[in-house]
């Protein structure tokens, strides 16, 4: 029972007292509203049982009963949208009574309360409510989740995600092992010169005991050769490592990306309803890129830097623990300051990027709207506006650059702070003979190598968490099961007759709001049904259900007597065609677009379809004929032309069930005639559903289905419906006739 929240003791106690007479009937609703009677934030409770609706305000140990309205006095209940919030209202006789007010986030919940109250007032069972609020806050830590995902960056099981990410490398495990070995070898190769420097100093340049020049020189040659050797080795290893890691990560991201796209293609439309296309595109492009970057660079840097730091620290500790600890003393400070500096700079840079994009946006709108600017002679104002933005950008940009120029030398100085300690403390130790000069040189050498990796590691936490979240977001999609999918016992139906039956169908996109209620319909094969009703009445929803973009919440839709859910989705869709109000053309040629659902179609077939769609003539007028490119970069087609292409597409597809969704809404009367003719040829012998606001379009329909608020209002032929003077359809037609008369003048 989602509408029963835990009440505070004060409300509970008062309520018990209040309800004393009405026995122990269970509560139907107990929901907290958050705006008080004074219009400020404040807790109030709406409590509903089978007897009355009460509003209580907690007041210390008890609660104040602000309102108590018997259910029998209530005719209706609804929420009213206000600015920044809403109000819960009940209709009482001819009057309206406001129960409570609430802030925006509670709106969905309160509309559930309203529907429950209304149902109870009408002595109906309250509608089932499954308000989905699980995906707003993280269940573990309560943090707000990013939109369209359940992944909380704070509570992510990092190890599991890592394991899964690396499992993609399993097919290439020998290469992965080789990569790890190369990383170790690479680290060793970078560290080796330190040791050589030591030897060079102690045994060749400044040996403690003077020795013959000859062996020293040959040793010098040997050591320099070793130096060159390790450096060459290092180069070789770096190349091999880079290439191998690029290969591996490219393979892995390729697999993830294709898997992701495949899954997205198969997911049902309801998945897309809840998410923005942009956010999904981000997953396929950016999130996968993020993973790729992490696998190519991030992981290498992480491992190599880590190994280098550990390696250097170990070698130094082995040589001289005291000096090492002294050298490492400033490290935490350096890390801390580096982080602060980065944050400081990043903020300013964000501001700069923001201003830069504002400048670009302003520029693009002013240039795109240049006709308007000139028509209203506003050039000066646009120049002023641009100058203002440019000035802001210049100021912020200057400040960023100057901070950058100031802070980096300071950071570099800090980095070298350790070397001062080495020079001083190490120098003293050399003088007093505790360490050799070579060891001092080695310390200095390693110190120079230490700070780069350390600096890199300061940002690794952020990097890691970004990569992991991206990975998790991608995996979330991969783990989503399509909600419209073939049942196990689904039957093949290679040839559908087109008989469609709605049996008590109810549906809503989100479970708290029904769009269609208890719809019963029987449509004969080959019949054309016109769907009529106000926007929002449920016409498009019926079509979405027939296309099986969604499954009904209750009831069933039968095609040729078989429950749609048991028919193979592919068989069904293959025999179904749509012509939409704004036909979508893919980038490609006209011929490819017509043949979208039947790529193997012969040229004759394509042209025959175009001819039947009244499209052949205008296509032939293009210099490139059927090879004309359309879509983003191609020829701009008019609305009517696009429409006819999409009709041709449907004709070629040869569906048994045809859906026309406002197919002629966006074209002029003359074009409409051409399209009407084309549609007339298209619908012959097919079960057709047509939505149209322009009712004249539905003249050919065998029967008209008038829907009001998700319910079947009228069903019959044009003449039958017109014969009813009180009918909804007749009134709609009369209204449109009025408007058309007006258009003539």
């Amino acid at each position: 029972m989602p509408l029963l929240e835990e009440m505070p003791p004060s409300v509970d106690a008062t309520l018990r007292e209040e309800r004393n007479g009405s026995g122990d009937t269970p509560l139907e609703v107990a929901v907290k509203a958050d705006i008080g009677t004074d219009g400020n934030l404040g807790e109030r409770w709406v409590v509903v049982d089978r007897d009355r609706v009460r509003v209580l305000t907690p007041n210390g140990v008890s609660a104040h009963v602000d309102l108590a309205v018997p259910l029998e006095d209530i005719q209706s209940a609804r929420t009213e949208n206000l600015v920044g919030g809403g109000a819960l209202l009940v209709g009482k006789g001819t009057d309206i009574v406001e129960l409570v007010r609430f802030t925006g986030p509670l709106a969905g919940r309160m509309s559930g309360v309203a529907r429950t109250i209304e149902a109870l007032a009408k002595s109906e069972e309250p509608p089932p409510l499954e308000i989905e609020e699980n995906d707003r806050n993280c269940r573990t830590c309560g943090r707000r989740l990013p939109d369209g995902t359940q992944v909380c960056r704070a509570c992510l099981d990092k190890r599991a995600v890592f394991t899964r990410l690396f499992s993609y490398a399993a097919p290439y495990k020998w290469r992965a092992v080789l990569l790890v070995l190369l990383m170790f070898a690479g680290t060793a190769a970078t560290l080796a010169p330190g040791k050589i420097v030591q030897q060079l100093t102690d045994r060749v340049l400044a040996p403690e005991t003077a020795s013959a020049v000859g062996p020293r020189l040959s040793l010098l040659g040997l050591l320099v050769a070793a130096f060159i050797g390790t450096q060459l080795l290092n180069v070789g290893i770096t190349i091999a490592r880079g290439r191998l890691s690029a290969w591996l990560s490219a393979k892995i991201t390729y697999r993830i990306r294709t898997q992701l796209y495949e899954r997205l293609q198969w997911l049902g439309l309801s998945y897309y309803d809840k998410r923005q296309t942009g956010a999904l595109m981000t997953r396929v492009t950016q999130d996968v890129n993020e993973l790729n970057n992490f696998l190519v660079d991030g992981l290498q840097i992480l491992v190599v830097n880590g190994l280098t730091i550990i390696g250097i620290a170990t070698i130094l500790m082995l040589h001289n623990a005291r000096l090492t600890l002294l050298v490492l003393l400033p490290v935490p400070l350096v890390i801390f300051i580096t982080r602060r500096v980065w944050r400081f700079l990043r903020r300013r840079m964000h501001r700069m990027w923001h201003l830069r994009s504002a400048l670009a946006a302003g520029l693009s709108s002013a240039l795109n709207g240049v006709r308007v600017v000139k028509a209203f002679a506003q050039e000066d104002r646009e120049i002023d506006r641009f100058n203002r933005r440019a000035t802001d950008l210049y100021k912020v940009g200057l400040s960023v650059e100057q901070w950058w120029a100031t802070l980096f030398p300071v950071l570099n100085f800090l980095m070298t702070a350790g070397s001062f300690i080495v020079w001083y403390v190490g120098g003293r130790q050399v003088v007093s003979g505790i360490i050799t000069l070579g060891t001092l040189q080695m310390f200095l050498f390693f110190l120079g190598q230490l700070y780069g990796p350390l600096q890199g590691m300061t940002r690794i936490a952020d990097w890691l968490s970004r990569a992991l979240t991206s990975a998790e977001r991608v995996f979330e999609v991969l783990d989503t099961e399509p909600d419209v999918k073939d049942a196990d016992e689904s039957v093949a139906m290679p040839h559908i007759n087109g008989e469609i039956k709605f049996e008590n169908v109810s549906f809503g996109y989100d479970k708290s709001r029904r769009i269609l209620e208890n719809l019963d319909l029987h449509i004969q094969p080959g019949e054309m049904i016109g769907l009529v009703g106000h926007s929002g009445a449920g016409k498009t929803t019926i079509i979405n259900l027939i296309s099986r973009f969604y499954d009904p919440v209750e009831g069933a839709i039968l095609v040729d007597g078989v429950d749609m859910r048991k028919i193979k989705v592919n068989d069904l869709r293959r025999q179904m065609g749509v012509v939409l109000q704004e036909p979508f053309l893919f980038p490609g040629t006209i011929a490819q677009n017509i043949a979208y659902a039947k790529p193997e179609a012969a040229p004759e077939e394509i042209m025959r379809a175009a001819k039947a769609a009244n499209a052949h003539d205008f296509i032939m007028r293009f210099p490139d004929g059927y090879d004309t490119e359309v879509g983003e970069r191609g020829v701009r087609l008019s609305g009517g032309e696009r429409q006819r292409l999409s009709i041709a597409r449907a004709i070629l597809h040869d569906p048994r069930i045809l859906i026309l969704d406002e197919a002629t809404a966006s074209v002029d009367t003359e074009t409409e005639k051409a399209i009407q003719e084309a549609i007339g040829r298209l619908i012959a012998g097919r079960t057709t559903f047509a939505i149209a606001h322009r009712l004249s379009t539905l003249r050919n329909a065998d029967r008209l289905l008038v829907i009001e608020k998700g319910k079947l209002a009228e069903l019959g032929t044009h003449d039958e419906l017109m014969a009813n003077p009180q009918g909804v359809f007749r009134r709609l037609v009369e209204m449109q006739t009025e408007i058309n008369k007006m258009r003539v003048y």
Binding site: G39, L41, L82, V83, T103, P105, P146, D147, H534
Partner: protein, 205 residues
């Protein structure tokens, strides 16, 4: 709600059966008195506007019209500001039960005290825009920020994602912040906040 098919409001007692052509004629013929709310901006004289509360929460409006010498009555009247952000105290629209325009009040001065109180009350009810009086803390992590603020409506904690796009600069000193739920928070003058709040804003904005 069968009346939805008509373009004019339920709730209003005016005759709505005129065809559009006729409506245009009359409005050009007799200027102010019979001007049609569908085409002309109607500025109401505060002296002619009277509001009453029904038994419940609804408002009833009576417009007296001295030229005709009659009164018109509207049920379930709502009020709305034309410039809620830039000029909240002027240009108040009165709307009928079907949320169609009845007319505009340029100013609330000159209304009867009871009517004035009801309008103020209704405006207060319609606009819930907390005004930030103090910024206690802003915690940033993972690209979103959690704000703890005090407002004239009480203390709020809200989450803002993508701060740049969620902060609207109405004037150089006035900002409007939209949180992830779409709730908005007004900071009428950032310079008038006390120092700590101002410092926090400077840091995050």
């Amino acid at each position: 709600m069968q009346n939805n098919f008509q373009t004019n409001g339920a709730g209003s007692s005016r005759v709505t059966e005129t065809t559009p052509e006729k409506a245009v004629e009359t409005s050009t013929a007799t200027e102010s008195a019979a001007s049609d709310a569908r085409f002309d901006l109607i500025l109401l004289d505060p002296a002619h506007v009277r509001l009453f509360r029904t038994g419940g929460s609804a408002l009833r409006l009576t417009l007296s019209d001295p030229q005709i010498g009659s009164e018109r009555s509207y049920l379930r009247v709502a009020v709305a500001r034309a410039f809620p952000l830039s000029n909240p105290n002027q240009y108040i629209g009165l709307r009928d039960g079907a949320d169609k325009d009845i007319g505009m009040l340029v100013t609330l001065d000159g209304l009867e005290p009871e009517t004035r109180a009801l309008i103020d009350d209704a405006l207060h009810r319609r606009y819930f825009l907390p005004r930030v009086t103090r910024v206690r803390n802003v915690r940033e992590e993972f690209g979103s920020s959690t704000w703890e603020v005090d407002t004239d409506k009480g203390p709020f904690t809200f989450v803002v994602r993508n701060l740049r796009d969620s902060v609207q600069e109405l004037t150089p000193t006035r900002i409007l912040i939209t949180d992830v739920d779409g709730s908005r928070f007004d900071i009428p003058d950032i310079r008038k906040l006390e120092d700590k709040s101002y410092a926090i804003l400077q840091r995050v904005l």
